[in-house]
Amino acid sequence: MVTGDVKLIGSWASVFVMRARIALNLKSISYEFLQETYGTKSELLLKSNPVHKKIPVLIHDDKPVCESNIIVQYIDEAWSSYGLSILPSQPYDRAIARFWAAYVDDKWFIALRSILTARGEEEKKAAIAEVEERTDHLEKAFIECSNGKPFFNGDHIGYLDIALGSFLGWWKVVELDANHILLDETKTPSLFQWAERFCNDPDVKPLMPETTKLAEFARKLFPKPQA
């Protein structure tokens, strides 16, 4: 089976890049990882993603694919005979998975990030409350999608597991920053247990950034205002 020439432009710290890497691992696709230097954008990145100029960019036989969730779907479709399916097989289940993946990006992630950018205690408290409310939605989504199985996608990790699970490194970092538990074993027990299973998955484990290293990087990305 010929996979073609595969490159991925990205960064070790990026949630969105991790999604693409997990998907490539799931399909056992070898690829060249082109690590971007923080603070600059390579010529290849600017040429491959002129519209958004963002990572990740998957380059398959010199053809670029952009946007992490679109890349994951592409990987599933281009290498459909490799490994297991990433998207569910039924159209309705696919629509549900896509709905929640969009929710993760449009609503949940925005709330999580606003904890890091909050100015003052009031703003931080409000941001935390929002994350907790939205995480609660995701707990319900997990119960609905998993149908008693270990992952959103069922027996094996899939599209929605990848979409949300890739945030687990940053989830821990934001917890530390906020000094507040954001993935609570008692409030969202299904998600809590799912998170441990996801992080231990062999296609995920080598990619999850180490918390201390990520926290250090977060301090660079989200500097605290000087007192």
Partner: protein, 219 residues
């Protein structure tokens, strides 16, 4: 016999238009229900508890939310007639990219064009024209975004065309002067029955936008 497919929608919604067009492309019989957004129906709140927004597609009692997701669902459930997404994975990724681009960029920019004034409106107009020019450049000399056949990106964008006269009136500029190829593309799409049947009268949309402007205190 109760309809197998119900669409909860709001007539001027460019997002609802996507789903209407997709259903008509496939020849799917559906019941259209116009929502009063100031008094949302219990069915809407029950079927989209997370966002409480239209459009909501209800198929055999099960809801699908988010217009781009609905269009993909429709294409997958009724695959045989008028395919909407291309069959090649790379082309599919490109189509998804451009609908995602429209979803990320269009709403805020077009809102500034008609629902703000002064400097904010001028900034909005610049952004909006830039977005349209990017799309026009992607279209190039092709009849449709996907090439020879009407498809996903065309469906993703065409609904905004009914709002163009309103943008031009309230923004005081000509979209055709800036993006002639895009206007030619839109007129081509309007020739399709599924599109003509799914889009409202632009004059009514202008009236609706005028009402919104009053509501936002811009008029």
């Amino acid at each position: 016999m109760a309809k197998e497919v119900i669409l909860l929608d709001f007539w001027p919604s460019m997002y609802g238009m996507r789903t209407r067009i997709a259903l008509r492309e496939k020849g799917v019989d559906f019941e259209y229900r116009d929502e009063n957004l100031r008094e949302k129906s219990p069915l809407l709140l029950q079927m989209n508890p997370v966002h409480k927004k239209i459009p909501v597609l209800i198929h055999n009692g099960k809801p699908v939310c988010e217009s781009a997701i609905q269009v993909q669902y429709i294409d997958e459930v009724w695959p045989h007639k008028n395919p909407i997404l291309p069959s090649d994975p790379y082309q599919r990724a490109q189509a998804r990219f451009w609908v995602d681009f429209i979803d990320k960029k269009m709403y805020e920019a077009q809102r500034k064009v008609y629902a703000t004034k002064g400097e904010e409106q001028e900034t909005g107009k610049k952004e909006f024209i830039e977005i349209l020019k990017t799309l026009e450049s992607e279209l190039g000399d092709k009849p449709y975004f996907g090439g020879d056949d009407f498809g996903y990106v065309d469906i993703g964008l065409i609904g905004f065309y009914t709002w163009f006269p309103g943008y031009e009136k309230f923004g005081n500029f000509s979209i055709e002067a800036e993006c002639p190829k895009l206007i030619a593309w839109a007129k081509r799409c309007m020739q399709r029955e599924s599109v003509a049947k799914s889009l409202p009268d632009p004059e009514k949309v202008v009236e609706f936008m005028a009402m919104l402007r009053k509501k936002f205190g811009v008029e």
